[in-house]
């Protein structure tokens, strides 16, 4: 009988009894490696569903990783961990604390060998916390609850519900976005995107950058500037009637809400380089933009002709602003 076999035989009792103290030659392996051959020793382990179920028993090699243990334990419980074949399961593995019915926090180092887990105080009683793991396209994630709307699901998986719809299997009918789904573990959904094409972005879906690019192609000198987290479109060289204005061109700045274009544009700032006989009509407090002084002009859309994201854009708002210089309201 060789040394290796002797060690294995000496561990028979320990291998069978889940709560048997660790043999000395295992505990002394703490900072080094297991004695030769011991890694192949299969020991009995317990596993149950977290937080509590009937404990089932199975065997694992001391050299197995905790991920191997988790997979084998899940098989013993009759339910594989998810995602299948992943090295980073969404389900969680815990082990019971010594002399207690309490469970440890989820074990994060699943690549750690079983024997290291035991040497560092872990027990041979494990529990698997099965979570509500679902898949959308190729992404796996854990649903926050078993009743979520498609909109919530898409958002939580990083899909913009304005662009994507949720489908099941090979269905061609999308789920209604705001009707909660009863989610089951392991379910697979597909997020399908809309296809947007066109010479220009559809009104109501464009960005301010789209609109700036468009007005620039029409010969307007416009650029986006930002100050303290607020974005403005600066429109330079705007032709204005002179007289009555003191100069033929003006520079204006239009504050852009983050919610543009649904949150519309309103009013504007006028760089104080022009005036009408020394004053500026509808002038409100001034601000400094890039070291230049701009007066806020209280120039709003008329009642009944509010900003409409489906038809208005930067170009139409500049036209609205020009009405101020021409002394006319929006038409």
């Amino acid at each position: 009988m060789n040394v290796e076999q002797e060690v294995l035989n000496a561990n028979d009792q320990w291998a069978e009894e889940l709560d048997h103290p660790l043999p000395e030659h295992v505990t002394t392996a703490k900072d080094s490696v297991l004695p030769p051959g011991l890694g192949e020793l299969k020991i009995r382990l317990g596993v149950e569903r977290w937080p509590h179920s009937q404990e089932q028993h199975f065997r694992a090699r001391l050299a197995d990783t905790l991920l191997d243990v988790m997979r084998d334990g899940a098989r013993e419980l009759g339910e594989e961990i998810l995602p299948p074949h992943s090295d980073v399961p969404l389900d969680l593995l815990r082990s019971k604390r010594h002399g207690s019915h309490d469970w440890s926090l989820p074990i994060t180092e699943l690549e750690r060998p079983l024997w290291v887990h035991l040497v560092y105080g872990g027990t041979r009683h494990f529990a698997i916390e099965y979570r509500l793991a679902i898949r959308i396209n190729t992404k796996w994630g854990v649903a926050e609850s078993d009743h979520m709307t498609p909109r919530q699901l898409l958002t939580s998986f990083g899909f913009d519900p304005n662009d994507y719809s949720l489908y099941q299997g090979n269905s061609t009918e999308p789920f209604p976005p705001d009707t909660p789904l009863h989610l089951k573990r392991g379910e697979h959904f597909e997020a399908q995107k809309d296809g947007r094409y066109g010479l220009t972005a559809p009104r109501g879906l464009q960005t301010i950058e789209d609109d700036i690019a468009f007005v620039c192609t029409a010969g307007v000198s416009a650029r986006l500037i930002a100050q303290n987290g607020q974005r403005f479109v600066e429109v330079a060289g705007l032709e204005i009637p002179s007289p009555p204005w003191s100069g033929p061109r003006a520079t204006i700045a239009i504050a852009v809400p983050a919610s543009y274009p649904q949150g519309g544009l309103d009013g504007f700032y006028l760089e104080k380089t022009v005036n009408q006989g020394g004053s500026i009509p509808y002038e409100q407090p001034a601000i400094s933009l890039n070291g230049r002084t701009f007066a806020l002009i209280s120039w709003h859309y008329a009642a009944g002709r509010e900003w409409n994201p489906r038809s208005d854009d930067l170009a139409s708002h500049i036209a609205h602003c020009r009405g101020y210089f021409l002394k006319r309201g929006i038409r």
Partner: protein, 398 residues
């Protein structure tokens, strides 16, 4: 890579997008559809094939206006499910830019949105082929996407009563290309561009006997770019009276007739590249696979089974087939008939079954081994398919 489409499908596309180019509308809307694709993955002729047009139903487009169109996820999904169910290669979205005429291109808005759509489609169907086409009135631009990068398609080949070609780089062809001056004197017959097309085409000739040798000769002298020859029969003395270029020495040495023709073409100095397909029998699937590399097939076989194979390749891969047949009918030593036939086979045209050129019974008999053929013929229900009728060069020249 080229895109092939049957003329009848192309007509459906043009009809679906016609509103975008209507002169009656001041602000015509963008329109579109989806093209379902299969693939010819022959290494020398990688081509996408439009298998069907998926027209939009009510509600399949939103935000449809002069400058924009949105394909709903539901419409794209219908296409994706068809791809999965029918084992297709993928699909192309098609949309229009109404103001574009002989020049069209993807807009910055298209460029910004296509990558995320294509990434989504590849996420859902990792091995799928997905891309987009933008149409002007007389122009088109098409691209496929992989790994966030577009690759542009070369040419749209519309296969129907004629072969029509459309540039897929966004610009309409300015003038038809011209052929080498050797072939100038044929222009009056063929029209501008046709000979240049032949000079760039890979033409398969299947069967190199009386008719096939003549076709090879004619195509060589019309400036064909490349001839792919399929023939498995060696020359014998019965061929000498009707097969062009065959010499007695070829018959004596049982030279493959295709090899003899290749020799003639090489010696002609007319520039045609020639390839003799090893084996040459298109009833062998590996040999038949080479048919997919051709732009045009010329069938000069005298059996129904190979004619069926050619016909199937023509429809499946959108490669036009010109099938030729000659027959001298004789009975009791008396001449009964002289027939010559040219069938143009391809999408939108009747197949060789429909036009009764080939028959199920003959295909079945041809598939039997000789002993089984004898047994079946002995039963008296089938007509003998073995060639015993006379053949002369004159009728091939017809």
């Amino acid at each position: 890579m080229n895109l092939r489409i049957a003329e009848l499908h192309w007509e459906i596309v043009r009809r679906l997008v016609s509103l975008s180019f209507s002169s009656a509308l001041k602000f015509p809307p963008e329109t579109g559809c989806i093209l379902l694709l299969s693939r010819n993955d022959h290494p020398q002729a990688q081509t996408l094939l439009v298998t069907d047009v998926l027209p939009p139903s009510d509600g399949d487009f939103t935000d449809q206006e002069t400058g924009a169109i949105t394909f709903t996820s539901r419409y794209l999904r219908k296409a994706l499910i068809l791809v999965r169910e029918q084992g297709l290669a993928g699909f192309l979205t098609v949309h229009t830019h109404p103001g574009a005429d002989r020049q069209v291109g993807f807009s910055p808005y298209d460029d910004r949105n296509d990558p995320s759509l294509m990434e989504n489609l590849h996420d859902l169907q990792p091995d799928g082929v997905f891309g987009s086409v933008v149409l002007g009135k007389d122009s088109a631009c098409a691209r496929l996407w992989s790994a966030d990068k577009p690759s542009y398609l070369n040419e749209l080949i519309i296969v129907g009563e004629q072969l029509k070609f459309m540039n897929l780089n966004g610009r309409a062809y300015a003038v038809p290309p011209s052929a080498s001056d050797i072939f100038d004197r044929s222009l009056a017959l063929t029209g501008a561009g046709a000979l240049a097309r032949i000079s760039r085409a890979r033409i398969g000739i299947i069967g190199l006997s009386g008719t096939g040798m003549l076709m090879a000769e004619l195509l060589m002298r019309a400036g064909a770019g490349e001839l792919l020859l399929f023939e498995f029969d060696p020359a014998d003395r019965t061929n000498l009276g009707r097969v062009l270029h065959l010499r007695a020495s070829d018959a004596d040495s049982a030279t493959n007739k295709a090899l003899r023709m290749a020799q003639v073409i090489a010696e002609s100095g007319l520039g045609a590249k020639v390839t003799v397909v090893p084996g040459g029998d298109i009833r062998d699937p590996a040999v038949a696979a080479e048919l997919r590399s051709c732009d045009l097939l010329i069938g000069c076989v005298d059996r129904d089974w190979p004619r069926l194979i050619l016909s199937e390749v023509a429809y499946q891969y959108l490669i036009p087939l010109i099938d030729l047949g000659t027959e001298i009918g004789a009975a009791n030593g008396q001449l009964q008939s002289l027939d010559a036939r040219v069938s143009f086979v391809g999408p939108g045209r009747p197949c060789l079954f429909c036009s009764r050129v080939i028959k199920q019974e003959r295909i079945r008999l041809e598939g039997y081994a000789p002993e089984e053929q004898d047994r079946v013929l002995a039963m008296g229900y089938s007509k003998d398919i073995r060639l015993k009728t006379p053949a002369v060069m004159v009728i091939s020249v017809f």
